[in-house]
Each structure stands twice: as C-alpha cells, then as structure tokens.
C-alpha cells in the first residue's frame, strides 16, 4: 500500500485557523488539544502538525505500544491502550502530540484516516482557502513541495 502523508506549504499559510476548527470538529475535540495549530510570527504563519515521521519519536517513546503505524504509514494511537504518561508528548520534536484532559490520554493527528478511506481530503486540507495543505502519496508530495504549489 502506498504511503500517505500530509504536508503544509508554509509560505502560503495565511493564518486563518480554519484548519484548526475543521480538525476539532472532525475529531470531536473541545478546548485543549490542538492536533493542528497555526502560530503567528507576523507576517508569517507557522503551522504545527504531525508529520507521521518514518522513525516516529512518539511511537518509539511509548512504553505500552499504544502508538503504531498502519499500512498507509499513518501513525495512530489506540486510546484504549494509552496510559496517559505523556512520554510521547515530550518526545515529539514538533509539539504536535497533544494531551486531552477530558479523556486523560494522548491524542494525535490520524490524517483523518476514515475520510481517506472514502478518498476525501483530511478535514484541515478540505477547508484551506489557499490550498496550502497537501495530502496523498508521500513520494509525490515530496516532489510537489520541492516544486512549490
């Protein structure tokens, strides 16, 4: 199965935060965990999000193997197995790993795996007004990022 991932072309992020709300809605999250987050450093905007790293520090740090990778390369967390130790939150170099106080477990971007199954764009990408959130085959994405949107 082809590896799937998501890349944000930062130069075109204009800081509207639509991706953040679309993500919260899709994942039923309240205030607190932000699986995608845009920070402002005027006039630029810096999105923080999960890169589904090949060698994923979150996955490697998990003491109970609650974090795993599926056939599409998506790094997922099983909330049933998560013990809430936050090792993964600390391990993530991007700050993308989040903790949900409501569930007392770590939460992370699942690349909208359910939507992908139906060939729908991840929620964040679907609403982006500048179209700067790309998703799809990891190999092709890399080429696209190099070329620019």
């Amino acid at each position: 199965m082809e590896k799937t991932s998501l890349v944000i072309f930062k130069k075109d992020c204009m800081g509207c935060h639509a991706c953040e709300i679309a993500c919260k809605q899709e994942h039923g999250l309240g205030v607190g965990p932000r699986l995608i987050r845009v920070s402002e450093k005027s006039p630029r905007f810096i999105p923080t999000y999960c890169h589904h790293c090949t060698k994923a520090p979150c996955l490697e740090s998990c003491p109970v193997e609650a974090i795993f990778r599926d056939a599409r390369g998506i790094v997922l967390i099983d909330p049933g197995r998560c013990i809430g130790c936050k090792e993964c939150v600390e391990a993530c170099p991007f700050g993308a790993m989040q903790f949900d106080d409501a569930q007392e477990t770590a939460v992370k971007c699942d690349l909208c795996a359910e939507r992908l199954t139906h060939n729908q764009a991840p929620a964040c990408s679907s609403v982006c007004p500048t179209g700067c959130i790309f998703w799809g085959s990891t190999r092709k994405l890399a080429e696209r990022v190099v070329a620019g949107p």
Binding site: G15, C16, A18, Q25, A123, V127, P129
Partner: protein
C-alpha cells in the same frame, strides 16, 4: 442514532455566502462542512462557519423571548413579547410620531429587506445600520459617481491586483470571497498591497505601500497624479465617459508626489512605481476594504478609487472592477418598499439635511440618534428595535452609545445572546442562527448571485429574524405574508422559481455582460462617470474629490500629539471573530483568548513593554487594556489595536464592555465625520500607551 441527513445551505457567520453541507442526525446538527459545489466558496469554509454547532448549541444562548421586570429577565411567550413591542410602538406613534422609533441593525446579515420593510411601513425614516462607515457608504459614493458599485472581477483573470486596505482571506471582503482572489493571484497576477501593517499579503506583494493610517485618499491622488502626468490613462474612455475630466485633472495636479509622500509617509518613487504598475498592466482589479471608508475622507476616497478604475479603463471591463448583473428577482429595495415611506416622514430623518448621502441610501449615522436621545434635539427618540447589533461595542464613542441606549424609554433587541447591548433592552427576542432559517441569501450584494439558505433545524423557540419582522409587522397592521416562505416566493417570482424550486437549484447567477456603458451610459445625471459630481455640487459640497487631513493626527493636532504621541489604528480584524461576535465560542476563543494591541518593538522598549504584557491604551476620550503583541511590520509611530472585545464569561450585565473595547477611545463628533455620509472615524486617532498591571 438515526441516519445522517446532509442538507445543502449557505453560511452567514459573517456577511455569509459560503456553501455549506450540514449533517443532521436525530434533529441535531452534528457537523458542517464546505460545499465543493458552491460558486462562492468552492468547498472552503472559515473558522467562524465551521464553529456553527458551538454557536447554535451554546449553553448561554437564549432560546425563548424574555421580558425585563423588577426581578430582572423573565421568560415570556412570543405573543406576550411581540404584543408588548407592538403596544409600545403604537403608544409612541400616537404620542410622538413614527419617527420617534429607531430601527437598527449591525453589519449586513441578510435581513435588511425585512428590517427596512418593517421600518418603512411603520413610517420611520430613522434606520441605524453600520452602513454609514461600512460598505453602504461605498455603495452610496459609487452610486453618485458611476451609478453602481464596481466589484473585483476575479474570474476575469486580472493581471494586476491592487489590494487597497483589505485582507480578503482573514475577513469578508463583501461580494466574492478570498478564495476567488487567491485563485486569480495564483495565476500569476502582480500584487500591490496598500496597508499600514505588513500582513500576509504585504509580505507576498510585488509592491507594498506602508502608508500613514487614514491617508488613503491622498495616496489615491498621488496615483492619479502619476497617471495624469504620464498620460497613462485610457484616452478613449476619459474623452467619452468622464464628466469633468479637465477639472479633475486640475485637482489631481494639486497633489504632486512630494506633497503626497509627505502626507502618506510613502516614498514617491514607490508611489510612482505602483501607479505605473496598476495603470499599465491590463486588466487590473482594485479590491478596497473598509478602512478607506472609516474616516472623514470616506466619500472622497471611494470616489478617487473609482476614478482610478475608470481612467485606467478597468471599469466594467473583464478582469477589472465590474457591475455584476443580478439574477432576475425582486431587489431588497423593492421588497423593502422604500418608495412607500411618505415624503413627510422622510423629511423628518435625523441628520437628513446634513448627511445627504446617508439619507440617499436610507440610513442615519449613529451620532444623530444618540444626540436625539440624549438632548431631545431636534426631537427625542422614544423607542427602538435593534437586530443583530452591539453598538455599545462596535460604534464610535461607545460610552455615548451606552448612555443613549440606556436612556431610551423602550428598547427591544433581537439577538442570540444577552450581549452588553441586549442587557440594556426591555424585551429580548431570540433569533435563529443561519442553520435555522429559510432565505434567499446574498440578494443585497452586488456579485450577481443569490443563494438558497435553507433551514436545517429548529432550536428552542428561536425564530429567524425575517419571521420576527413579519409577525411584528402584522401586529402593527402592516402588509406581510402568512409565512416566511410565502414572502420568498414573492421575492423570487420574476425568476419563475418558487422557494421550493430555488432550494433545489441552490443558487442563481445573473447573466454577466461587460461594458454596459457603451450601450446605456452610466446611471448618473450626466450619464458619465462623475469624477466632477453634479450631485455633490447641488448639495453644496466640493464636486471634486480631495484629501482632508484627519482632525486628530500629529499633523492637525501637534498640541495633542505631545501628550498622545502615537497614531492609533483601530479595528484590526481577527479571522476567528466577526466584529463583536464569537467571543463566547470555545473553539474560536481558544485561538484568540485575549485582545491584542500591536506595538513596534522599538516603541515597546521605550515604554518597558514586553510581549504579552497588559498595555493601557489612552486617547483623549478614554482608556482600555489589551495585551501587547510586538510586530516589526508596523511603523514605530503607529499602534494597531483590535476591536469588538467584550467578555461574555463575565456574568454581570456589562460583560466587561468597558475593559478592552477600543471604541471607548474613538470619536464621533460631527467634525470627525464624513460631511455627506456621516462615516465615523473608527481607524485613526492619537493615543499613548503604558505598561499596565495584570
């Protein structure tokens, strides 16, 4: 859990228009998503629209009518609430005349057709909106100049885009959304950005003109000076279609670039370069934003920008600024029955003699309403009905707005929440959100589309605004329809569609024709673009546009500048909020928990202010607190503050309306307003800053 139904509708979390697919399950909206088939938004949706479920199902939302008594707010039936309003209005009309009732709304939220119909049939000429300084002021000034509002034609592939005081992706630019601009830009158009602040677009622009806030009209004159001097204008157009070209040229020559550079702080070479780029790249489109309107130069600035479009041959040309053709339905004006307001009532309009352009577009500037309430002159306003507006937060000189609304004998408010303004009312009527209404949306806009906003759910006892006006109107003996949908059938009748059929269609688009003036001329007294305005001349004003120095600036008031050394540029938009709305929506407030004031790092250092400190901002009229955000992208002489702030989480009746509300600092004196439109200066004033305690 029942099956999920997907219902196609149109958002109205701002002025609205973006296509939405709402997911409904067991009678509740579970989720909203962008509609890829929408010709307006193409599947995108902003944070405000996406948070609609948190708005609709908010625990603080008022879901039934309220009446204020000795013990505070008390739940009543719709019958009791509407009968109370109707009885009070009848009493006021009998004793003081219908003109003693003020009807008001905030920014355009797609019920102006119904609100105006109610006001006109009631017989009051006193309708208070945001239009004196937002959009309608632009419509008014273009009506007298070229007969209609020219709108950016993004689908016509402009090769040069001038983004004049506008950030269409953070905010609603009216008409088309930012996504259409972005598509045009991405096709390789050159970009000129005029903004006192280096934002996302300024960073991307080929040319960024960082002007002194409030000097847009002077900058436009600088552009025109270059275009005239270098003969970069469309000779055929100016010869045939401009009224007063010679006189206009003479006026423009009075603004040489040295003078313009001094006024605007923009280097003259940069002005020249930008003017050349705009005038010589075809087609070129100019998108204007409200800061061009929110000073006393409102009308003149709009007329100058229209002049730029006209003399460069970009008016009603593909890819320029065009007059879109509306679909064949009844207009807001026809539905509102403006012609049926008797002349004797129209003549009683507050400020009508003074602010003639405002009067022409059927509204009053708030100052004249507050004066009438507080001084009783020229006659007192006794009662009011405000719909979807929070003037205590959003209007200039907020303290005066607050005192006036408090003093009004009787006030009814239509809203979702008990806002600081609603808390001053005697009756609260709970409105439905856009998920709870049937309406032909966007009919008031000038982009050539109408959209089906269809009811997805009903929540509590809330009624859509249109139904409130209809039911109240019937109680006042006015001519309305049995149902909201019957009224929509009437509105749609010329198109041959009923509401039920239109719902299926989703939207209608007018058939676009360019260069209409070649056949019909322009809809002005001379049939030409009146850069020399015969209407303004008749009204006793300068028929040619000019730049007037802001009455409170370092230039006009050096005495005041000693105590208030910075230019305060207010009204910075925040993408998650719409004016004073949304501060109670958890997802949105998480992104922007507190009001921010932008200060240049050098300036901050002078005052010992660090990122995140509370800052007290003071003007000659008041002081408020916002948190410091250091920004190198503004001039060190300028401070940029957000507007619209109150704290819904504070449960006292004031809800913190006087803590961070930047309009406690703004001015609404007659001298500070546009002389024909009554546009308030919401954008530029003098201030000082100091680090404040927590």
């Amino acid at each position: 859990m029942g099956a999920v139904r997907k219902i196609r509708t149109a958002c109205r979390s701002c002025h609205g228009g973006c296509g939405v697919i709402a997911h409904v399950q067991d009678g509740k909206v579970r989720k909203v998503e962008g509609d890829p088939a929408s010709p307006i938004s193409h599947g995108t949706l902003c944070s405000k629209g996406l948070a609609a479920t948190q708005l609709a199902y908010h625990p603080d939302r008022i879901l039934y009518p309220l009446k204020k008594g000795d013990g505070g707010w008390k739940r009543v039936t719709w019958d009791e609430a509407l009968n109370t309003v109707a009885a009070k209005f009848r009493e006021v009309i009998a004793a003081h005349g219908a003109e003693s009732i003020v009807i008001g709304q905030g920014t355009g939220r797609d019920y102006e057709s119904h609100l105006y119909r109610f006001a006109n049939l009631l017989g009051t000429p006193n309708v208070l909106t945001a239009g004196h300084m937002c959009y309608v002021s632009r419509v008014g000034a273009t009506l007298i100049t070229c007969g209609n509002l020219p709108v950016s034609d993004w689908s016509g592939d402009p090769r040069c885009i001038v983004m004049w005081a506008c950030n269409p992706q953070w905010t609603n630019p009216d008409e088309h959304k930012g996504v259409d601009f972005w598509r045009a830009y991405k096709k390789g158009a050159r970009l000129v950005v005029i903004d006192p602040r280096k934002g996302f677009l300024a960073d991307k622009a080929d040319l960024w003109l960082q002007l002194r806030p409030g000097t847009d009209a002077a900058l436009a004159l600088g552009f025109l000076n270059v275009i005239v001097a270098e003969e970069l204008y469309d000779k055929e157009f100016v010869e045939n279609y401009i009224n007063g070209w010679e006189a206009f040229k003479e006026r423009v020559r009075q603004y040489p670039l040295e003078k313009v550079a001094e006024i605007t702080w923009v280097e003259k070479d940069l002005i020249r370069k930008a003017a050349r780029m705009y005038a010589t790249t075809k087609p070129a489109s100019l998108q204007w934003g409200v800061p061009t309107e929110q000073t006393l130069n409102c009308t003149d600035c709009t007329r100058l920008l229209t002049g730029l479009m006209a003399v460069t041959g970009n008016l009603d040309a593909p890819g320029g600024n065009v007059f879109f053709v509306p679909p064949p339905v009844r207009t807001v004006s026809q539905f509102a029955r403006h012609r049926d307001l008797p002349a004797e009532q129209r003549n009683k309009q507050l400020g009508g003699d003074r602010y003639k352009l405002a009067s022409r577009v059927a509204l009053i500037t708030p100052k004249v309403a507050w004066d009438a309430i507080l001084t009783g002159k020229p006659y007192p306003l006794k009662a009011g009905l405000l719909c979807g507006t929070n003037p205590v937060i959003t209007r200039a000189n907020a303290r005066e707005a607050y005192e006036a609304l408090k003093k009004l004998d009787f006030l009814a408010v239509i809203d979702f929440f008990l806002t600081p303004t609603a808390e001053l009312a005697d009756i609260f009527l709970p409105a439905g959100t856009w998920l709870e209404q049937n309406h032909v949306a966007d009919n008031w806009k000038r982009h050539g589309y109408i959209l089906a906003r269809q009811k997805v759910v009903e929540i509590g006892e809330c009624w859509q605004d249109h139904k409130i006006f209809l039911e109240l109107g019937k109680r006042m003996g006015q001519e309305w329809w049995d149902t909201v949908e019957d009224a929509l059938d009437y509105l749609l009748e010329p198109s041959g569609l009923t509401w039920e059929q239109f719902k299926e269609a989703g939207y209608l688009k007018g058939e676009q024709v360019y260069h209409k003036y070649r056949e019909k001329g322009f809809s002005t007294p001379t049939g030409k673009v009146e850069l020399y305005s015969t209407i303004l001349e008749k009204w006793g004003h300068d028929p040619l546009p000019k730049y007037t120095e802001i009455p409170e600036s370092p230039v006009s008031r050096p005495d005041l500048a000693a105590k208030y050394p910075y230019i305060l540029n207010t009204g910075l938009r925040i993408p998650t909020f719409f004016h004073s709305a949304n501060r109670m929506i958890p997802w949105l407030r998480e992104i922007r928990p507190e009001p921010l004031v932008e200060i240049h790092p050098q300036t901050a250092q002078k005052h010992g202010i660090e990122e995140g400190d509370w800052v007290e901002i003071a003007s000659p009229r008041g002081r408020v607190k916002q948190r410091a955000k250091l920004n190198e992208g503004i001039d060190p002489r300028v401070v940029v503050a957000e507007h619209g702030w109150w704290y819904p989480e504070l449960k006292d009746a004031g809800h913190g309306w006087d803590r961070a509300n930047i309009n406690l600092l703004t001015d609404n004196s007659h001298a500070s307003m546009d002389p024909v439109m009554g546009a308030t200066n919401l954008r530029v004033l003098l201030c000082n800053i100091a680090r404040a305690e927590e």
